[in-house]
């Protein structure tokens, strides 16, 4: 048995182990890994996610058990301190000695800290390990206690610096990026794109300071600011240094391996150092006189080292290494690939810039106009994957190269993803080609996206290629004549629309009946609420009928809050409320000590109600004439209104009255996702009707009816369905449109996404709704009328039934309340204490 010792359990050291155990011929070796950090290797690329949940385990590349299960000995928290090449051993800081036949150095790099006066002060951090982040979080909390408007500076405006700036912002500090160069991301961007990026970053709250050389860091013990010139000072409470990396090459130096002038251990294309038995991979390796600060090349190096040690000597590192990058900062698209800067003698550049939209796209094309050499995208990098592929594979480009970056033309300049050559590398982190992805489907070894991802590992690292992998899988399935079937879950082999049809035809009325008729197993949190929603849409069953199959909010007819208490939202149709109504609401809120807020839907929300109190609160509301606002349901929420011609000097019609009529008409209507409406009295559109699932706007001669709008995660303006129609026609078209949506949409799909997917789009919808091309209009109207007539306030039902009321006791065997609840004061009200983890 030969010994392999791996020094460093970072991303690349781990990848070496993973690739090693997957290869044949590994039985003859025992692998021992030393890591200096306290935990097994984790995903440094997604380090910033640690700020969201502080869940270190979620970042693990593999749990500690994985190493043991695969016969690898993992020793964490122990740094290797010396290499003794003559006797082929290493020693650790604990003075333990181990011998090796092959040594693999994967010690990575550390953050470079420039020698500025005062860097040792408290509050100065680097951004590299989980411990660094824990330190920052603790320090930020401390600073926030004494300073209500704390600031964090980031030294370095590169890829990582910007990520650190966003992190500082998420920690609640005012972020300032300080860059020595005259542009941001100097290695990836030209000055124009840097300016566009700067505008975009400033618009989301990052402050940018360019061309600043830091002289010293100010403060007594802890940092209070940075000084650039005599009168040029930036006050700050914290500093994150992100000024580049330095390879951790101490071991190589002391044992006399060949080193680069500026650090790094020299390797050849076999990843071998100047000593045949020692390999170096990842950010420690100096290959072609370069250190590669990205995971993809590091992973390739790990693969080459594994192959070489196992005797597959033909496996070599390619001479050219792709350094294309895409920034993964949430909300800001930046990417560069190939040769981003192009001297005019080598090619032509095509540039599209639109500062008002924070958009910049540049591509560099060869002098003969035939191939793509590189480019930069800021503001919209949705074409990055495709452009990157065209570049990598030297694919032909349109005669007018500008088509590659001009704002979306119908169908786009690209063909289908299937046109790529089989060798095209789709996932560069895991080195998966298009051939492997499509092959996995074609040879029958995988059936769907999830299968392809787990068997090829494509898109499991940075995730940037996921959209392309999805396209390839779907296109391949289609090309094989397989329908890309959206089944509900493991219990039902049907789509929502199919199940809707089955339930309707067989007149099924309970979940168990549905499961026994056309499902398997015992249901789950996906299919239970879905079936309940279909019952509601077909028969207007309220959640009281079968409460155990309802989503939690529907089950308790209230929205669960982060501490397990609930919110209470009575309906305030159209936003209209009498002063007396307001007084009652005030009294109830105050009696039950509820946090009170006006919602974005123009009504009043009470928060922090304990489960036990819900029936009593609702009894008082109902006695005062209120009813459920269905804020908890996938159902009609609000129909927002403006004051319209009732009060407004520009109003063309009575928008309040019409909004109230619409809200009352569709209240309680359950649908695949929530529904919102709006009615504006004129095109000034104060009700934001075009941001809703249905919007009605008064114009000269009637109402314009818009459908398929959305605020939320993917905003979309509603599209015009019909012009200048009267009240009655609005109702008729709305009945048809809403009912058609309810019957055909996928679960949790808003009308906007549904309309986008509807073949033929708005024109097709017009034919169905207005011209009745499918001959279903009267059926749809009838079904809607049934639901409207069957409406009942479900809170009224709940409080009138002693049995139903029991659902709202926290304990079955005691009247006690949940003793785990802790509220803290906030301004003049209260809020739940922060989560403990």
């Amino acid at each position: 048995m030969k010994n392999i010792i791996v020094v460093g359990n970072g991303m690349v050291g781990y990848k070496f182990c993973e690739k090693f155990v997957a290869q044949s011929g590994n039985e003859a070796f025992k692998v021992t890994v030393f890591g200096e950090e306290p935990r097994p290797a984790y995903d440094r690329v997604h380090l910033s996610e640690f700020f969201e949940n502080q869940d270190a385990k979620a970042l693990e590349m593999a749990p500690a058990e994985w190493y043991a299960e695969n016969g690898i000995e993992l020793i964490t928290g122990e740094r290797v301190s010396d290499i003794h090449r003559s006797k082929k051993t290493i020693t650790t800081v604990k003075d333990r000695e181990f011998s090796y036949d092959y040594l693999v150095l994967a010690t990575g790099s550390s953050a470079f800290v420039p020698p500025i006066k005062g860097v040792e002060k408290e509050g100065v951090f680097v951004y590299r390990t989980i411990e660094d982040l824990e330190g920052m979080l603790a320090y930020a909390e401390k600073v926030k206690k004494t300073n209500p408007n704390p600031r964090a500076a980031v030294l370095g405006g590169g890829l990582l610096g910007l990520e650190a700036g966003k992190a500082a912002m998420d920690m609640g500090l005012e972020p300032h990026i300080v860059e020595f160069a005259s542009k941001l991301m100097p290695r990836q961007l030209d000055s124009r794109s840097s300016q566009v990026l700067q505008l975009k970053l400033e618009s989301i709250g990052l402050n940018i300071h360019l061309s600043k050389a830091t002289n010293q860091i100010l403060g007594d013990k802890a940092i209070t600011g940075m000084e650039f010139g005599e009168d040029d000072v930036l006050d700050c409470d914290m500093l994150i240094i992100s000024a580049g990396i330095r390879p951790r090459d101490e071991l190589g130096k002391t044992c006399g391996l060949e080193m680069g002038v500026r650090g790094g251990i020299v390797v050849d294309n076999k990843m071998q150092t100047s000593d045949d038995s020692i390999y170096a991979i990842g950010e420690i390796a100096l290959y072609n006189q370069m250190i590669f600060g990205l995971v993809a090349p590091g992973y390739d190096m790990a693969g080459v080292a594994v192959d070489q040690i196992l005797g597959k000597t033909e496996s070599l590192m390619p001479a050219e290494i792709d350094m294309s990058t895409k920034l993964k900062l949430i909300g800001v698209d930046v990417a560069s690939f190939g040769e981003p800067f192009m001297p005019a003698s080598k090619g032509h550049s095509v540039i599209f810039e639109n500062k008002t939209q924070h958009l910049y796209k540049r591509i560099n094309v060869s002098l003969d106009g035939k191939s793509l050499l590189g480019g930069i995208l800021v503001g919209d990098a949705s074409d990055y994957n495709m452009l990157h592929q065209v570049y990598l594979n030297g694919m032909a480009i349109p005669e007018d190269a500008a088509q590659l970056i001009l704002p979306a033309t119908e169908g786009g300049a690209f063909g289908s993803a299937l046109d790529l050559p089989d060798t095209a590398q789709i996932c560069s982190c895991e080195n998966v080609s298009k051939g492997q992805i499509c092959g996995a489907i074609k040879d029958g070894s995988c059936e769907d996206l999830a299968g392809v991802i787990s068997s090829t590992k494509a898109s499991t690292s940075c995730g940037g290629c996921k959209p392309m992998v999805t396209d390839l899988v779907n296109e391949t399935l289609k090309s094989l004549g397989k329908t890309v079937k959206n089944v509900i879950c493991e219990h039902f082999e049907y789509s929502r629309q199919e199940l809707y049809g089955i339930i309707k035809i067989k007149k099924l009325t309970s979940f168990n009946e549905v499961l026994d008729t056309c499902g398997t197993g015992h249901g789950c949190e996906t299919c239970k609420p879905l079936v309940s929603s279909i019952f509601a849409s077909l028969y207007n069953f309220t959640p009281n009928k079968e409460d155990v199959t309802q989503d939690t909010n529907d089950k308790f007819l209230a929205n669960i809050q982060r501490n397990g208490t609930y919110s209470v939202v009575p309906r305030i149709a159209g936003g209209e409320i009498t002063p007396e109504g307001l007084i009652v609401l005030g009294q109830i809120g105050s009696k039950y000590n509820l946090y009170t807020k006006i919602t974005g839907g123009a009504r009043i929300d009470f928060f922090g109600a304990e489960l036990n109190d819900l029936p009593a609160i609702w009894k008082e509301l109902i006695d005062a004439g209120f009813e459920s606002g269905h804020a908890y349901g996938k159902s009609l929420r609000t129909v927002k209104s403006c004051v319209g011609s009732t009060w407004c000097r520009y109003g063309l019609d009575e928008s309040i009255s019409f909004a109230i009529e619409l809200e009352n008409r569709y209240k309680g209507l359950r649908s695949p996702h929530k529904l919102k409406g709006g009615v504006s009295g004129c095109i000034r559109e104060c009700a934001e009707a075009r941001g809703k699932d249905f919007g009605v706007i008064a114009v000269e001669g009637g109402w314009n009816l818009y459908v398929g709008g959305n605020g939320g995660a993917t905003p979309r303006h509603a599209e015009l369905l019909a012009e200048k129609i009267d009240n009655e026609t609005v109702l008729k078209y709305l009945d048809r449109y809403l009912m058609y949506y309810i019957q055909t949409a996928a679960p949790l799909m808003r009308t906007a996404a549904w309309l986008d997917k509807l073949e033929g789009g708005i024109e097709q919808l017009k034919k169905i709704v207005i011209d009745d091309s499918l001959n279903i209009a009267s059926e749809l109207e009838k079904e809607m009328q049934f639901l409207i007539d069957a409406y009942e306030c479900e809170w009224k039902q709940a409080i009138e039934n002693e049995n139903t009321k029991k659902r709202f006791n926290h304990f079955v065997n005691s009247d006690d309340r949940d003793d785990n609840l802790v509220f803290v004061p906030m301004r003049d009200q209260k809020m739940p204490e922060h989560w403990k983890n």
């Binding site: 979620a58 015992h522 789950c524 409460d547």
Partner: protein, 125 residues
Amino acid sequence: METLLSKYKTVKEEDVKVWFKAASVDAFPKDGGACVKYKDLQIAVFNFSRLNTWYACQNLSPEKQEMVLSRGMLGDHKGIPKIACPLHKKTFSLLTGENLNGDLDPIATYPVKIEGENVYIGFSD
């Protein structure tokens, strides 16, 4: 220090010292759950009537440490009975407490027996 989470430890049937009478069978909804108070513990008890079996586990969701699991939804994953937390839909095996869709620590489970019309939960102290 005793944390909230550390108060909940799985009890095996053979280690039961106390069978605590929680409530009558019909206090628990069919294919649903409810919460039982025992000393200072909150125990979620489920009447999985499709399987004709009862389960009990801690009411505390290990993710954000809120007392909510009894309000979650029952189901199965490849035949393993499970409960989905109402807050973020983390699911846990009712047999082993294992987190089925993530790598949270397992939750504590407790034995349940039905005698006459009553539901009993087993504790070791």
